[in-house]
Amino acid sequence: MLAVAVVAVVSLSLSYWYYTSATQKLSGTIEIDGSSTVFPITQAVAEEFQKSNPDVRVNVGISGTGGGFKRFTKGETDISDASRPIKDSEAQTAAQNGIEYTVFQVALDGLSVVVNPSNTWVDYMTTQELNLTWRPGSPVDSWNDIRPEWPNQPIHLYGPGTDSGTFDYFTEVIVGEVDASRPDYTASEDDNVLVQGIAGDPNALGYFGYAYYAENTDKLKVVPIDSGSGPVIPSDQTINAGQYTPLSRPLFIYVNKESLKRSEVKAFVKFYMENAEQLVAEVGYTPLPASVYQENLTKL
């Protein structure tokens, strides 16, 4: 009698285990943190992924590219969103902590300069004008300090904080040195705060990732950028064709190799690459050619 019971229990458990692994019920938690620019993409992927894998929790934070790397290089997160490549010092910290990682390029961003919709005088801005406005010790206090024809109204600047990868990138390509910026602007790592601020201030000028403009085209006006060959508006065509310079930049995710050994993380990254082309476009950034995503899949 006991033997029958034992056999029954064992075979039931075996068939349940086989059933669950056959239907691939993934479970676990995936920790992601980093760039607020990349956040909309990763969040969209996470939402879709969790629909088909309800037992997996994906937590996506927005500590900024730098803040994200700080956690990633300590092994606190599985994936780090980044709007700039990892710095040497951060890579060193990772090596010291025995963290190995793989980089995946996921999208292109046309970093956008925006103004309030009631700003009628800005038709375009040159990179020299942006440099003049944003560099340390800038003499610009009013709009007519940039261009004399513009009105004599005070200019209010908005931008990401110093932890932001967007800040690092913008200062490097516009001002010429990383972290070199005038400090008297409204800073926030949360791009939504910047959107609100600029949308409510007629004298505002700010910059952030294109997706935040794309989501708020009714509240913001994007500024065409002239880097020597005429004003260019950020769009999929101009970014892919390399015309929107110097503000086109690649967006990355860095994945901890140790984490990749977990089935739920591997499945998530695979899902990411398989759906990036569509989701990146939905979010508002420029997707990479399909070949890049295919190549990313081979790295798994």
């Binding site: 340390p136 910026s181 005038r182 409204t186 609100q196």
Partner: protein, 304 residues
């Protein structure tokens, strides 16, 4: 009847127990002192490292604070001023309302009303500071912007200061009220007998007699306001500057320390060390406020 030996043994056990309890209580007291000294030691040690690179003169006299930008400047005055500005705004809100509530509750309110209003005021003290910060950012700023100041920007000293003031009201009202209740009733009765009106009794007899306790409540509220981090981080901004305009965004010492600690400054770098130099400045400021408070309280203290 116990034998002599048994009695001796019992006494010895009791003595040992007393000794253990005394030492245990002493140890508890020592832990707090030791913790304070340890914090001070860490601050001093790391700040010393900072001051080897940046001169103390430059730190305390120059007026630009940009350790996270290139080029770096290390003048702490804008941060100190940010703290002072927000605290001043908080006091202009909290002192009239707090003292007014205290006078009302101790001199005018019937007992029933007092028993209802006082606990409600204390609820204000129980609200977490992060909730206050959120309140400032999502209610106070839009409210002020829509109805009074259309040019207001999202981060500013005024919203942070006002909400900070609301947070410290219970400190002032509670302690001042206790101080006023301690004034003997005979003082009031004597004044009434001389023909004084109720408001004269309240303002010219009770408040001056309770001044020591009232000032102590102010000092406590100031200390609290100076040390507050969450509200000013969320609503005050992150742009240190010396400005008299409360509608501009500023940064307090506490908000700066929070920003750096949560950010990406590498361990051991000069940016990291600013945590400790600003920390020790904050510590010194709070300590000074407490010393002044103790001196003032002692000066005005009257025994009844």
């Amino acid at each position: 009847m116990q034998s002599n030996n048994e009695l001796e043994a019992k006494k010895k056990v009791q003595r040992i127990r007393e000794w253990i309890i005394e030492k245990a209580l002493f140890a508890s007291a020592i832990v707090s002192i030791f913790t304070t000294l340890a914090i001070l030691a860490v601050l001093l040690f790391e700040a010393a490292g900072f001051f080897q690179t940046v001169s103390i003169i430059e730190f305390f006299t120059t007026t630009v604070w940009t350790p996270l930008f290139q080029p770096q400047h290390f003048g702490v005055l804008p941060l100190i001023w940010g703290t002072v500005l927000v605290t001043l705004i908080a006091l202009t809100v909290a002192v009239p309302i707090g003292l007014g509530s205290a006078i009302f509750l101790s001199e005018y309110a019937p007992d029933q009303l007092r028993r209802v209003v006082k606990p409600i005021l204390e609820i204000l003290a129980g609200v977490p500071s992060v909730v206050y910060g959120y309140f400032a950012l999502t209610f106070v700023t839009p409210f002020l912007k829509q109805n009074f100041l259309p040019d207001m920007i999202v981060f500013n000293a005024l919203s942070a200061g006002v909400v900070l003031g609301i947070m410290i009201i219970p400190m002032i009202s509670s302690l001042s009220e206790d101080a006023m209740l301690a004034v003997p009733q005979s003082f009031r009765e004597g004044a009434y007998a001389l023909g004084a009106r109720k408001h004269e009794v309240a303002l010219k007899i009770v408040v001056p007699s309770a001044l020591s306790g009232i000032v102590a409540s102010f000092i406590l509220a100031i200390s609290r306001a100076v040390g507050e981090t969450m509200i000013v981080s969320m609503a005050g901004g992150s742009t240190p500057k010396l400005t008299l305009n409360p509608l501009e965004s500023i940064q307090t010492m506490t908000a700066y320390i929070a920003q750096i600690s949560l950010g990406e400054a590498p361990y051991g770098s000069i940016e990291y060390r600013t945590i400790f130099s600003v920390g020790i400045t904050l510590f010194a400021l709070t300590f000074a406020v407490n010393l002044i408070g103790q001196w003032v309280a002692k000066r005005f203290w009257k025994r009844y």
